[in-house]
Symmetry: C2
Subunit: 333 residues, 2 copies
């Protein structure tokens, strides 16, 4: 039993999309995870996103001994005090707000706290990372950034293109996040982020959540924990450890049809080619298979020589700090 006099470090994962079940919620508790952000929209429109919110209401009711709905940091602490995992709801695409800026306020009131401005493709707001050209933030995009800032909804640029991301960092009054990606200097794929983006992100108080999705990892499913923690060390030199967190992108238990849907949505009559091979979920590295493995990651960071306070930040404390500011309803920039 932990010594209650000594505050335990937070363990927060800023991006998961598992096939949710009692056993996964039990693994979250076994792994000591205080909070996760889960995705409720990839390609869904508003009405379909609401259906996903209804599913989460059912889960919160059915598994109230394991998880609870979270809207602010107070809920992270409440969850911890009651031995549960706090679940923040987020959108990986702006499809949920359709062409209606008013839907942001509605979704915020329904508990949504994070939104990506783009998911791979061009959205009404900006360009995704798989578009051939990137004209940056659109007319509507500027309006949406201001409205998210006003509401206290965290802007996430994980799947966005470079110029669109840089402009958003600049336009946003609040710090933004890239909840799940890795540095492209380590593994150069379209989904990973350049040093220029990472520097600008951190300079404005933002954070990168380190993805553990094999396509983002050097060596893929065979990426070693040593290679990963070496990357984290270099990243900490570049932007500071306080701007780093975890965003595992864990998609545990999802069938391959889901990754096909993620790529193709409803926008093509064919199959999108991302240059990343067949649409199948790759095997997780053996040092991060599910929510019980965060301890291995912590141990790896310790072996790499990170200080305990740095590790506490990376494993959750940094997200706790960013969320506090990001979700505050009134922001005086």
């Amino acid at each position: 039993m932990p010594d209650l006099a000594v505050p335990q470090p937070y363990l927060i994962d800023a991006c998961q999309y598992c096939k949710w079940s009692q056993s996964i919620f039990e693994e979250l508790r076994e792994g000591g995870v205080d909070a996760i952000q889960v995705t409720v929209c990839y390609h869904e429109d508003f009405r379909e996103t609401v259906e996903n919110l209804i599913d989460w209401k059912r889960r919160f009711a059915s598994f109230s001994h394991l998880i609870m709905a979270a809207r602010s940091n107070a809920d992270i602490d409440a969850a911890r005090q009651t031995g549960r995992t706090a679940v923040f709801l987020g959108l990986q695409n702006a499809s949920a707000i359709e062409d209606d800026i008013g839907l942001l306020g509605i979704l915020h009131e329904l508990g949504v706290r994070v939104m990506q401005l783009t998911y791979n493709n061009q959205s009404l707001l900006g360009a995704g990372c798989y578009e051939a050209y990137d004209a940056g933030i659109t007319r509507m995009g500027r309006e949406v950034i201001a409205e998210m800032n006003r509401l206290g909804m965290l802007i996430d640029m994980s799947h966005s293109a470079e110029r669109t991301t840089l402009e958003t960092i600049d336009l946003s009054a609040r710090p933004i996040a890239i909840t799940h990606a890795c540095p492209s200097a380590w593994h150069p794929v379209a989904r990973n982020k350049s040093d220029a983006v990472l520097r600008a992100l951190a300079a404005r108080g933002g954070m990168l959540g380190l993805s553990l999705y094999p396509l983002h990892l050097k060596g893929g499913s065979d990426c070693t924990l040593e290679s990963f923690t070496e990357m984290v060390a270099r990243l900490a030199e570049l932007i500071g450890a306080q701007h780093i967190g975890i965003g595992s992108d864990l998609c545990q238990g999802q069938p391959d049809s889901v990754v096909e849907w993620m790529r193709n949505g409803r926008w093509t009559r064919g199959s999108a080619d991302l240059g990343t091979g067949k649409p199948v979920f790759p095997r997780q590295p053996d040092w991060f298979r599910d929510n019980r493995d965060f301890g291995k990651l912590r141990a790896g960071l310790e072996r790499r020589g990170f200080a305990a306070t740095e590790i506490d930040g990376i494993m959750g404390g940094n997200w706790y700090g960013l969320f506090r500011d990001a979700f505050a309803p009134e922001w005086a920039a």
Copy 2:
């Protein structure tokens, strides 16, 4: 009574958005208009567009002695033979297909024959003419162009940005249209088109529909018929009279709240500034106030020295030819 042995020239207007009523339909008949394309979507999503289609079904039933639904050129001829005006349904925005390429086939089956890829702003397909930057056709945009070509749905780029328009002309297997705009060489506003666009359009068999909306006219509401026909003469030198038609953009009887909605949609919490003044419908030039005034335009073109065959083409024959190819269900490019 016309001599039935001599074929009467067609009179076709490729863009109108009036506040439809019996009196406007009667004016169409009085003006001898054989066919019009009417807008059933500016910002509407699929479901809202369907509601507009229902409104048109009601009009076709209520005013079946004046108008009829049109899906192909055979309907233009059928309308003429029965003393009615053929009405083609079109979308000025891709909002109606949301993010779902499958909705194109559904809307085509419901009678939609024209779609703009963008309306002023960035869409999921490309950039509108009021965006600061234009990255051209998106991933989904390429798919939609191919699908519209397959179905026989005319691509309209009236409200699109320059690069997006040029790429579309290049990508489309079928000729495309700019149904309602003027040359920017005559009146340089964002909605008018450069010589480069007009040349490329015509080189691939496409057409420009001349707008009679005052903001597109040199001198605005006070534009003279002489200035207009002089512009047409220069345009005919540039691209050939066979690539010119009429797309009046007539918005007769609409309240100013409609132009405000056209500009702002649901994408801003403020008011879009187009640099074109307050959102009010400007007064029409006195030589084109409604559907009974096409004769004045024809007389103006005669005075400017156009040949009768050229005028017949501009007033409707050219659209008749383009529509024949554009709406053909099977296209061997």
